[in-house]
Amino acid sequence: MRISTNTLYQNGLNRLSQLQVEQDRLMQQISSKKRILTPADDPVGAARALELQNAQRVNTQFERNRMFAENGMNAIESNLQSVTDLLIAAKARLTEAGNASYDDTQRSYIAIDLKNDLEALVGLANAQDGSGNYLYAGYSTDTVPYTLTAAGATYNGDNQVRQLQVSNTRQLPVADNGPNVFQANGNDIFAALAAITDLLQTPVASDADAQALQDGLTAASDALQGTLDNVLTVRARNGSALKEITALNSDGDSRELQYAKSLSELQDLDYAKALSDLAKQQTVLEAAQKAFVATTSLSLFNLI
C-alpha cells in the first residue's frame, strides 16, 4: 500500500495529541482527587453522587435539629430535677406541719418556708432555655408562663407542645406547657401550696380549726404527691425522648459513614491506578515521539 507523506505526519500528530489529551485527563483527575470530572464521565454515577450528597446534607440537618431538641430536653430535665427536689422538700415540710406538738408560731414558720417554695416553684416554671425561650409556655415562648397570685399562679401560655423534626419520620417534643407539668390530673400545685400556706398561718383555736388544718394538710399532700408523680412521668417521657435522640444520633452517624463511604467509592480516584496509568502514558508518549522523529527523518532526498 502507498502512503502519502502528509498521512505520515497527520497520523503521527493525531496520535501524539490523543496521548496528550489522555494525559491531561489523568492530571486533572489526580489534582482534583475525583474520578468523575463531569457528568459525562459517568452519568449514572454523577446522578447517584448528587443523590448521596443530598441525603448526606439532609442527614446533617437532622443531626442539627436533634442538637436543638436535645438542648431543650436537657434544659427540661435539669429544671424538673430541681422541681422534684423542691416538691420532695415541700412534702417533708407538710409532714412536719402535721406534727401535733407544733403550735401556731411553729406552723407559721413552716408557712413561710412553703411560701418560699411556692415562689421558687413559679420561678422554676418560668425557666428559659439558652435562647431565652420559656420552657413551659407552649408555643408562646416569649410569654412569661406563670404569674404569682394570692391564690397560687395563673398560666399565661397556651397548651400546645412545641416539636422538632428529628429524623425523616419522627417529630419529638422539645418543650412543654405548664398545665401538662404543674396542673395535670386535676391537681394545681400552685393553688394547693397557696391554700396550705394560708391555712398554716391561721391560728388553731378550736377542734374545727384543727380538723380543717388536718384536711388541708391531707389535700395539700395529695396535690403535692399527684404533681410529683406527674413530674416524674414527664421526666420519664423526656428521658425516653432523650434516649431516642441518642439512638437516632448513632443511626445518623452510621448513615453518615455509609454515605461518605459510598460517595468515596463512587467518585474518588484510585490513586495507585491513576499514577501507574500516568507512568504508562508517559512511556507510551515518549516512545511515540521517538518513533515519529525516526520515521519522518527518513527521506530519499537526504541521499540525492
Binding site: P39, N54, N65
Partner: protein
Amino acid sequence: MSNIFNIGKTALNAAQVGISVTGHNIANANTEGYSRQVIVQSTNQAQNWGFGYLGNGTQVDTVKRIYNDLLSRQISNSQSIASSINTQLSNINQINDMLADSEAGLSPAIQDFFDSINDLSSAPNDAASRQAMLSNAEALVSRFNSLGTRLQEMQSSVNSQLTASVNTVNHYAKEIARLNEAIDLATTSTGQPPNDLLDQRDQLVLALNKEIKGTVVVQDGNKYNISIGNGIPLVNGLTAYSLTTVNSPTNPGKLEVAYQVGSTVSILSEQSLQGGVIGGLIEYRRESLDKAQNTLGQIAVALAQSFNTQHQQGLTNNNVQGGNFFNIPSPQVNASSRNTGNADISSSITDANLLTASDYRLRYDGSNYIVTRLSDNTVQTFGSLPQTIDGVSFTLAGGAMNTGDEFLIRPTANAATDLSVAVKQIADIAAGAPVIATSAASGNTGSGAISGATVSNGYASAPLASPFTLSYNSGDLSGFPAGEAITVTTSAGVTTTYPAGSTVPYSAGATISVAGISFSLSGAPADGDQFTIAANTSNAAGDNRNALQLAALQTAKTMLSGTASYQDTFNQLVSYIGNRTRELQVTGAAEDALLAQSITAQQSESGVNLDEEAVNLIRYQQAYQAAGKVMQIASTLFETVLSIR
C-alpha cells in the same frame, strides 16, 4: 537523421513535462485538497518505411490528477456527520460543565434553603433565623436565575453560530458556482482537465459538508449540482442559491434556517437540515438545550408552587395567613407572526405536579383546537377552550382564532430566569399554623390530650369560620362542624370516613381530619370532657407547625405526578445531559476515526509521497539525460555525414 532528432526532442520534452509535474507535486505536498498529478504518455504515430513501422518518439497526452470520486464522497459524508457530532459535543460540554460544578450547581442552593427552614423550625421567632431563611431563598432564586441566564446565553450562541454557518454556506455555494463556470470554460476550450481548479472545487464541497450535508450530482460531465435536505438546490450549474436565518414565527428568540429565492423566504423544516455544523446545532438545541432549559424551569415552577401552597397554609407574625412566598413566572405564550385571527391566548400553570418539560403547540383547524405536546408529538383535539393539559391551562382570553392560526406555549422555558421571591419582610414568613386546638382549660377530668392541629392544602381557601368544640361522651366524640365529612385514621392505619354530622367513636391516638384540619386525641378522656379547635388569630412566637411542613417539602415527591422530588428531577437532568454528552463523545470518536480512515485511504491514492516524487525526479532526470544522449548521437551522425568529402 532528422527523425532521430525528432524522437530525441519528444523524449526530452516528455521528460521535461515529467519533471515539471513532479516539481508541482513536491510544491503542493502540503496543500489541502491537492491530488497528485501524473503525466499520461503515449507513443507517437509510427511511420511505415517499407521494412516496417518506425516509431516517432513519444507524446504527453494529458496531465491527470489521481482522484477517486467514491473516496471523496465518503470523506464528505463522514465529514458532515463528524462535524455535526463535534458541534453538538462542543456545545453540550458547556451544559455538562455547568452541571458538573458542585459549588455553582442547583443542589447546594436547594439544600441551603431547606437547611435554613429547618433552623427556622427550631427558632421560629428568632429574627436571625427568619432573615437567614429569606436570604437563602434569595440565594436559591439567584442560582436559578444565573443558571437560566447561562442557558439563555447558550441559546443566543446557537443563534449566532447558525448565522455564521449560513453565511459560510452561502459563500461556498457562490464559489462552487464560480468554479463550475471556470472549469466548464477551461474544459471546453482546451479539452483538457483543469486539475487544480477541480481540486479546489472538491475541497469547497468538503468544506461545505462541514457546515451542512450537501449531495453532489455531476451535470454535463463537469458541473457540480449540489442539493441539501430532500433535494433543495443550493448550486445549480452556474447559479448559487442562498440560505438565510429568520426569527421563528412562534418563538422570536429562536433563529431558524430559511431558503431564499428572490424576496421569497421559506423556513426549512428541521428534518431537511441534517449534518454539518447547522444540523448539529439544530439537533443540540432541540435535544439538549431546550430540554435543559425547560427542565430547570420545571423545577423552579414546582418548587415555587408547592412552597407557595404550603406557605399559604401558615400564619405569619402579623397574624394573617401566609401569602405567596415566590412569584411564579407565567408560561410564555407566542402567537405565530402568520396568524390572521385576533385571538388572545392565555396560559397558566394549574398543577406543577403534573407539569412536563415540554412546549406545546396550539393550532386551530377551523373547527377544533389541536394541542400538540412537542416533546413526543402527542396530539389532543378539543372542540372548545379552555382546556387543561399536563397541569397547564389553555384559555381563549379574547378574540377568535382563524383556521391555521398557531400559538406556541412554553410553560417553563423562562421560569428559571424570571423566578423571584415575593416575601420581603421577615414578619411575612408563615411559620405557624392558622388553627389552634385546645383542651378545655378547666373542667376536663380525664387524661385525654389533643395534639397541635395542622391544616391541609385546601384550608387556605376555606378557613374555619367559627370554632367548634368536640365533646366526649361514653366512647363517642360529637360536635364536629356542620356539613363536613370526618376522616379518622387509627394508629393502626385504618381509615374510616364518617358523613357530616356524625358522632365518631373515640380511638386513642387516631388522626382526625375535618374541614381541612387534622389533629389527634390521645389518653383516656372522661365523659363531658371538651376539646376546642379554633382559628388561630394570634401567632405564638414558638409556633413552628408550618415551618415543619415547609421543611418536609425538600424530600416530598411533588413533581412528575408525585414520583419525584425537586432534587430527583435535577438529578435526572444531570444524568440525561451526562448520558447525552457521553454518547456524543463515543460516537464522535468513532466518526472521527472513520473520517481519518477515509482520509488515509484517499490520501494513499491521491496524496503526495515525497520519496515517490524523489524517485520520479531521478527517473525523469535520467530520461532527460538519455534523450539528450539520443540527440547528441544524432548530431554526431550528422557530423559524420558532413565530414565525408
